[in-house]
Assembly symmetry: C2
Homo-oligomer: 337 residues x 2
């Protein structure tokens, strides 16, 4: 009376278990009458197919692994939600792992998922420092990277055009009259952040203004980091009229530091972010930012992965989606000097 298996059903129905299997899988080579009878008995006995046993013989699990730096991050949790829902529609389940911004852990959970025989892996990499490791790993398992631009690496990824987005943001601030714009939060260990900074530099060059960058030496872009960077910056007199942040989370930290210092946004200082996480829209300072189309990123990534699972020998592909400006009210126009 434990769990009921195919064999149990077969015995009760008086058929071989091959027949039961075929009846359920909708195989054509089976009589209509026996099919109905078998299915009825399955329901009566409360039979549920054992996915593990099926995976064993089918050599695929219908599970895809998802590695994120931290679920506890609005951008990634939105992404995860989209991925899970779409994956389920495609007949897949998601096994989710945190890499906690740690390249070693990232590597470990990757191997773990390989051992689990997931059909493929979607991952938001920690950063560029582990690209070679990622490359060798991606060789043993269909993998697509998301968010992080792998540049010249021959890997599958889907990303937003970070450079264009940040360039657009800079130009927007310029169009409002800002000439002294601080770029806050540049990081060296992430290709994404490198590309974003490029967008800022490109715009500066094009608009003929002086670049002004405050780097982030930590490994991640968090509210806390944004707060600390801004706080230190605000300690001394500064001349910037606008701050452009490498990520929304950083910008939120800046808001906090500015508030404590009595600096009003946007009256005293304009502020922009990047990502358009859901909480960036919150009042009273709702952030002007650059949107990453999260649903499209998720769908593209999964489509790409599923395609790669089906045809592993297909060449690597990249998808670059367009970011878009989201104008809210953290920036104001100022008179040119």
């Amino acid at each position: 009376m434990g769990i009921v298996t195919l064999k149990d059903v077969a015995r009760v129905a008086g058929v071989s278990y091959a027949t039961v299997s075929r009846a359920l899988s909708g195989s054509p080579e089976i009589g209509e009458s026996t099919r109905k009878r078998v299915i009825k008995i399955c329901e009566e006995m409360g039979y549920t197919p054992n996915a593990v046993a099926r995976s064993m013989v089918m050599k695929r699990t219908n599970i895809i692994g998802l590695i994120v730096t931290s679920i506890d991050n609005p951008f990634m949790s939105e992404m995860t939600a989209h991925l899970e829902i779409y994956a389920r529609q495609c007949g897949y389940n998601l096994m989710v792992c945190n890499s906690s911004y740690d390249p070693a852990l990232e590597k470990e959970v990757f191997s773990l998922l390989v051992g689990r025989k997931v059909d493929g892996i979607i991952m938001i990499p920690v950063g560029s420092e582990s690209y070679d490791a990622l490359k060798t790993q991606a060789a043993q398992m269909p993998t697509v990277f998301i968010g992080e631009n792998m540049m010249d690496l021959p890997e599958n990824y889907v990303s937003v055009d970070n450079t264009a987005g940040m360039q657009q943001a800079t130009e927007y601030l310029y169009s409002l009259g800002h000439r002294n714009i601080l770029y806050l939060g540049a990081r060296d260990n992430s290709m994404t952040h490198k590309l974003r900074a490029d967008g800022y530099y490109n715009a500066c060059k094009k608009l003929n203004i002086e670049p002004n960058v405050l780097r982030n030496s930590s490994a991640r872009s968090s509210v806390q980091v944004g707060y600390e960077l801004a706080k230190a910056h605000f300690e001394q007199p500064f001349s910037e009229t606008a701050i452009l942040c490498a990520a929304d989370t950083l910008a939120i930290g800046v808001i906090q530091a500015a508030y404590e210092k009595g600096i009003r946004i946007p009256e005293d200082l304009s502020l922009m972010g990047f990502d358009n996480i859901s909480f960036s829209a919150l009042p009273p300072i709702s952030l002007t930012t650059v949107n990453q189309p999260k649903l499209e990123l998720a769908v593209s990534a999964l489509d790409m992965l599923l395609n790669r699972i089906k045809r592993p020998e297909t060449p690597h592909t990249k998808t670059i989606l367009s970011p878009s400006l989201v104008i809210r009210n953290s920036c104001r126009a100022i008179g040119n000097n």
Copy 2:
């Protein structure tokens, strides 16, 4: 070339595959020299045990299923992060599913996880309307509920003392001088929300003030819902000096509506939430709220589940954790009338 299995290793090492298995599992009945030799060969050949095959024979997957209403919700994503990290430390992986606030979907993914042969399920239920369904399901699989108080149901759950928390919140507002407090966002389809409302009513009775409740007829507590409820409420003149929200997300919606209406918080109106989601701390209006200890909830839930997996015949247990007041600056003291 293809994937390397136990048999391949055994052939190369010139031993039976039972020996390889024992060498890796640390079985004592094996010679120290052969163990080392076998392990060395495993590494050289890049052997990774097949978790699916292992699950097949061991009759357990070391996977636990997690069903949340929506990952894309700060409270749940924080919870999920804690759960994943702790679970991995315990040797388990997480299979995450969204129920999307839909009882039918909730039921469907539960069955799906049962078919996957997960070792147990942790779930944040949609609401109380499907308690009987949940009960019959929980019978086929070790399950613990989290966040939602299942009351008199003989099920495993871990929750915060919602009633005490909300009572404490009400009393805090009272202590600041508030006598006309609007309770915003009561819901009927969730035991959690019923209990929270109870806390409010209890306090009102005890403090001898008139309860004043604005119900939420939708199925969930979102920023959007909070915004709409508050917006409608603010259309007409109102006399409340404070609003106590059933959830932080609702309170954030209230902030938005108040801001648009020119109502200042806390100067014109005091505001409280419940949950202490990470974004509730954001300036300039950082929310005074009631904290749910998310890490402790996660750890307790997993411990409870693991225990139940080991000893399925053990009686059901409940754990109620204590909430705590988090005082920030969305409330101010007013003179009594």
